[in-house]
Amino acid sequence: MSGRLEDEYDYLFKIVLIGDSGVGKSNLLSRFTRNEFNLESKSTIGVEFATRSVQTNGKTIKAQIWDTAGQERYRAITSAYYRGAVGALLVYDIAKRSSFENVERWLKELRDHADQNIVIMLVGNKSDLKHLRAVSTDEGTKYAEARHLSFIETSALDATHVEEAFVSILSEIYKLVHKRGLVGGEAGAAGSSKAGGPMYRAGQVETISVTDGAEDGRSSRKRCCG
């Protein structure tokens, strides 16, 4: 459980981890939030949740990360969690060609259920499995360029580029927020009450968060400070 100090942040961004079953989403999350890796982790049922705050551009950004189950059957349920998300890490396994081929379907999932401004980063995970590589770095890069996604290869196992992946997407979201000027000025619910809007401002007097992505029309609310 997070301590109170961690609750002091400038921005709160909701990120979703999506991609085929078994590509390593849960381990990316545990590596980033707890610096843990478990070769024998259980499959994710429904969604799991973790947070971590990072410093970037002189601001404290809190990432609220939702790790979703990969199986097709769960999509009707998990798609509800895309709502309110400002970023998505779309993960495939570099040693498993089919997980790369399914990226297109996951992009469609996002188009159908997520905000149109969502920042998407394509992540080729398990880069430690060099001898089993089935998708080349070049192929991943080209695919991402063609669809205007950022791209990175990671290894949750040896921690390669995991930090970079999360920090980079958070920083990208932050820059976008600034560029568009959607956040800033007055704090308060009024400034960010667009249903499903992708940008949220947090901290200071009132904190707005995206904690209730599952309900339409209630996508921003005051944080409960307990």
Partner: protein
């Protein structure tokens, strides 16, 4: 809005009745009953006559205690006044005899008698249990005769509610799931037929698996092959802490069970989490060959375990079928059963603890965020394994409990942490509820949970919503 608790059980399956019908349908199509050595099986009437005759021959004291010989091959037994034979299990059992299930006490019963007192029920269960392991007994040996004796299921349910001792758990679960018939003289026949059918189907399924490519007349649907891949991916990720399930034999068994279930239930196919639900069933069916020794942490199967597993695997498959049939709506497209039960859970919390419900609402918690897994995996992931077994004892004490009573248990679980939850903010709460501090729980905690759930159910089930 009319609100009826019974509403959330869409498909209450009278599995017991189904098994009885199955049993009655049993004709000459099944293999000759090697257990009786009476040649090919004819109609049910023939069987009854044959059994009655044997019953008459065997009435009296059951003297043989072949399943608990000591190292020298001598039976250790003491005859009791009531004609029952008490068998004292000997220490240091050698593995070559281990194919015979361990046992404690048996007693002969009168033809047609129904066990009533709980003591008698225990003896009866033990004998039923022995009949389920009949194929592992040395040729020519049979357990004590129990012809036409019927288990008093209402008594069984009462007892199961309070928890079942490990030695009787498998037989009680099999009886209450409707897999094992409640009439003693049907036990061996029905189980043999069901096990045969499982293995026939499993072998068919596996022999047609992929290589060589199936002829075009038998196309493998995309869903079926996706299910197969998912099963292959999930089985090795099942309950990593329990090494028993990670032995090669258990892994193969779990894959076969789930694949067969998936192929035979195309409306849902395999859904992640069914592997978790299989665990208690497979464990209980398997451990039954030697309940005092088998542990989920065992690193390997001994000779006895390896012999027992094929029977246990088939048993677990049928138990899984029976259990999942009561909650099938949880696994079909969009998982409507789960959505319905999660809504019901929220309604319950609103009734029993409005301040907590308000707090959850204020913080923007969606019940789906934490209780999805509780429904999908029937709480298997939320408690230490022995407590899951204890919880399921109670679930099995009534039909349809996995669909309806389960929601009350989930409500009791949320309520249990009400005070803590009301001090937490959104993210602390999600994390708390997704990782409940139940690792140190004991049976008393589960009992309290069940009592609370029972109370609420009696108050609210079928009640009109306020």
């Amino acid at each position: 809005m009319e609100w009826e608790g019974g509403d959330i059980t869409d498909q209450t399956c009278d599995a017991t009745a189904a098994a009885e019908v199955d049993s009655a349908r049993n004709t000459g199509t099944s293999r000759p009953l090697s257990i009786r050595g009476e040649g090919a099986v004819g109609t049910l009437g023939h069987l009854e006559a044959a059994f009655a005759e044997k019953d008459a021959l065997l009435s009296g004291v059951w003297r043989r205690a072949w399943w608990a010989e000591d190292e020298g091959g001598h039976a250790v037994e003491s005859e009791r006044r009531d004609g029952a034979t008490e068998v004292v299990p000997t220490r240091g059992r050698s593995t070559d005899r281990a194919s015979a299930p361990t046992t404690t006490t048996t007693t002969p019963r009168q033809h047609g008698a129904a066990a009533s007192s709980s003591d008698e029920l225990g003896l009866l269960l033990e004998t039923f249990r022995q009949w389920t392991w009949l194929p592992l007994r040395p040729a020519g040996d049979s357990p004590p005769p129990l012809l036409s004796t019927t288990v008093d299921t209402s008594l069984l349910r009462k007892r199961s509610w309070a928890g079942v001792q490990p030695a009787h758990r498998a037989i009680v679960w099999k009886l209450l799931l409707g897999y094992c018939p409640t009439r003693a003289d049907r036990v061996a026949r029905v189980l043999e037929r069901q096990r045969d059918e499982y293995w026939r189907s499993a072998e068919e399924l596996l022999s047609s698996a992929g290589r060589p490519p199936r002829p075009p007349s038998l196309p493998v649907s995309a869903e079926a092959s996706a299910s197969r891949r998912q099963i292959d991916m999930d089985v090795p990720r099942t309950s990593p802490a329990h090494r028993l399930f990670h032995t090669a034999e258990m892994q193969a068994a779990m894959k076969r069970i789930l694949q067969l279930w998936s192929v035979r239930h195309p409306a849902s196919g395999y859904v992640q989490g069914m592997n978790d639900i299989l665990l208690p069933l497979l464990y209980v069916c398997y451990a039954d060959h030697d309940p005092s020794r088998v542990q989920p942490h065992d690193q390997s199967l001994d000779a006895a375990g390896a012999t027992a597993l094929p029977l246990a695997e088939a048993d677990a498959y049928w138990c899984l079928c029976a259990l999942l049939s009561t909650v099938q709506d949880q696994y079909t497209f969009a998982q409507p059963g789960i959505q319905k039960r999660v809504r019901y859970l929220r309604d319950l919390i609103q009734r029993v603890d409005a301040p907590l419900c308000d707090h959850l609402d204020r913080c923007g918690i969606d019940f789906m965020q934490f209780s999805f897994r509780w429904m999908n995996c029937l709480l298997v992931r939320e408690f230490p394994f022995p407590l899951v077994l204890r919880l399921w004892d109670a679930y099995l004490s009534e039909q349809g409990a996995f669909a309806s009573f389960h929601v009350y248990v989930c409500a009791a679980l949320v309520e249990r942490f009400s005070a803590t939850l009301q001090r937490l903010d959104f993210q602390e709460m999600v994390m708390f509820l997704q990782h409940l501090p139940t690792a140190e729980w004991n049976e008393d905690d589960v009992t309290m949970l069940l009592s609370q759930a029972y109370l609420w159910r009696s108050l609210f089930e079928g009640a009109r919503r306020v």
